[in-house]
Symmetry: C2
Subunit: 195 residues, 2 copies
DNA sequence: GTCTATATGCTGATAGAC
DNA sequence: GTCTATCAGCATATAGAC
């Protein structure tokens, strides 16, 4: 059995990404130095470049991974047939998934302007794919006569903004449980699409 | 008549703030240097310190002024008596006001984490006053039996997130006019509160 | 795989000439 | 009111020892 004595490549790499997520979310990409990320991990700054070619790529990888994981999680979900039930399912999934990883969500929304143009295009395409998942639910419900949505694209953007907004104020152990929050938001979402 | 020949104190000051708004909105507070702001204005970096004691105060002043102007504008509005009409009025005011100054709105939402703690508290108090304006409309409508809102605070946050979200996708001269967007969003807001 | 040392350059802010 | 020059510090990234 080969044992990589003293080798931490499979440990330090994830630690670097975790530290970067925490620090980027708290202080912003531009305000966080590679030195600070290294200090959080417990290595020197130079060692970071074993795990990422540069700071920009580190940010891009975090955002891309976040969105790809989100899309995979959504695609794996068992979806109901009924449009109304599917919309409810989406709302509850969205809130639960986003409350579970607030730091990655925050970065994915706040650091878009710090992406290099090529990276920005890729990330935007992934985000659009997620938005389209909701939009197709609205389209089906509209066709079935269950929803009343004058503009599907606007309704999509409005609902996602509303649902993601939970992340800006929700506090663990606060006045309301996640379950209760999801109940209330689903109620408002249903009303918003005229169902 | 005293003429301040060569004096630009009443011109350069506003130019500095305008340049800071544009650059902070586009690249983020932490990513913009005082030198770059100065270059945008057409002066040297040292001259900026005639108009602001430091970079942090410049950011704080921009955010405070934005929120104070928003609050003043809202307080000056003629409000209808009927709760439903008042909610519609708030929705249309919010969208119109925010679409009119997207850069200041962006900064006020994105740069909170770059405020010094004392400044943060002041800005948060101003924001809360604006949120409370909506919350009191919801309270009145709930009492009058016009709305069906299980949690007023949540509904407030949900509606503001939905309405402000317009700023993230709206493009001047795009597919829809501001008027049409406001119509559609008001429709969704009304549905969300069960009216 | 991690370290120290270092290059190259930009940062916020100040001093003093004009 | 604006300029130039400058301080002290920190940035990203790389080179080479161990």
């Amino acid at each position: 059995m080969a044992r990589k004595t003293g080798s931490h490549s499979n440990i330090t790499g994830p630690l670097v990404r975790q530290a970067a997520v925490r620090l980027f979310a708290r202080h912003g990409y531009a305000a966080v130095s590679m030195r600070r990320i290294a200090a959080e991990v417990g290595v020197q700054a130079g060692a970071l470049y074993l795990y990422t070619p540069d700071k920009q790529t580190l940010l891009f990888d975090l955002m891309r991974e976040h969105l790809e994981t989100l899309l995979q999680a959504w695609e794996r979900e068992q979806k109901p047939d009924d449009p109304l039930a599917r919309l409810e399912h989406f709302c509850r999934f969205h809130i639960a998934y986003h409350l579970e990883r607030p730091e990655s969500v925050f970065i994915a929304y706040m650091e878009l302007r710090n992406l290099a143009p090529d990276n920005f295009r890729i990330v935007e395409k992934l985000r659009r794919r997620y938005e389209d998942a909701l939009e197709s639910i609205l389209a089906d419900g509209q066709e079935a006569g269950v929803f009343n949505v004058p503009d599907r694209r606007l309704a999509t953007m409005a609902l996602i903004a509303m649902l993601t907004g939970v992340n800006t104020w929700y506090q663990e152990g606060g006045r309301l449980s996640r379950e209760r929050v999801a109940d209330i938001y689903w109620d408002m979402a249903r009303g918003a699409v005229g169902a």
